[in-house]
Symmetry: C2
DNA sequence: GTATGACCTCAAGTACACTTGAGGTCAAAT
DNA sequence: ATTTGACCTCAAGTGTACTTGAGGTCATAC
């Protein structure tokens, strides 16, 4: 019996599409998750005569970016947006990926800035002890990262 | 009929505990979510003779920190850990909060560093166009933030 | 030619983080 | 006294992101 790797190599010309198993091994994403991403339209595949999926090589990059986003807590719906304008069924051009790259960078920047702000505030809190004191930016999320909904109010003087 | 705020004010001595409604308005967290957090042991309440919840004022801070964590995509189980050593039922001391503060800061640092790393890599990718090229750190999550499971492999030369 | 492993579909199940609803109680105002 | 809004419990439902399982097909090895 040949190993998976050997099986993969058998269909492994430089332009050959990848089986779902190879995709899974190369990206670390379970086949079931790949099915799921495909059902959401995040990735796409062609089918063989026998109805098996075959992935173009540029799908590796899409899947890798999806997993990066996941690690950062970015929901798949946002990933969908980040992939806007990156062609799904044809190999994306250099410019396509550059546009996507800038989009991702902006998203990362936003998240980093939110975290940095909280870090600065926490540092202040450690210095001054205000985490157990009155008004602390960290405890006023409206200021920190923008609110959803009615939002909290600043702690009052008596809320020590 | 008195407004909510007026109703709150009625029980609003400087050391009085807060009703769930007031907690909700002050933190922007829904009462149902407060119930939920309590069921997980993230927060605690005492009860009135009539079985209504009353929250000590230091719970405001706990709830606010929970919402901060949520915005950063930190799961509640990690929040639980971050609150280790912060007393739940008695008012935490200055030192308790300082320890927690440092813990939070370390957590934020870790996340920021992960993001910064990806940003640097993306910047490189935008400059050199490698997001559409061969080996890119961004596409090698093992290097970037540590892997869970078998993990992906670096893209090969032919995977353009 | 048959066994084996990789693959297929579709339905159901899981985990997290809650929300919604039913049915009932509590407390302040009129 | 009764109305009204805030509160209670408990069960079930929601959305996201998948995994698991049943039942069957495909492709390669022996």
């Amino acid at each position: 019996m040949s190993s998976d790797a050997a099986a993969d190599r058998a269909v492994h010309g430089p332009d050959e599409p990848l089986t779902i198993g190879e995709m899974s091994r190369r990206t670390g994403v379970a086949p079931s998750a790949l099915h799921f991403y495909e059902s959401l339209g995040l990735i796409a595949s062609t089918r063989t005569a026998g109805n098996q999926r075959r992935y173009a090589r540029h799908m590796l990059r899409r899947v890798s970016l999806i997993t990066v986003a996941k690690r950062l807590g970015i929901p798949l719906s946002d990933v969908q947006d980040a992939f806007a304008d990156v062609p799904l069924t044809q190999t994306p051009s250099h410019d396509d990926w550059q546009r996507a790259s800038r989009r991702w960078k902006r998203e990362l920047e936003k998240r980093r800035e939110g975290i940095e702000r909280l870090e600065r505030e926490l540092t202040g809190c450690i210095g001054c002890g205000c985490l157990s004191m009155k008004a602390c930016g960290l405890l006023n999320p409206d200021d920190a990262l923008g609110s959803q909904g009615a939002g909290p109010q600043r702690l009052r003087d008596e809320d020590t």
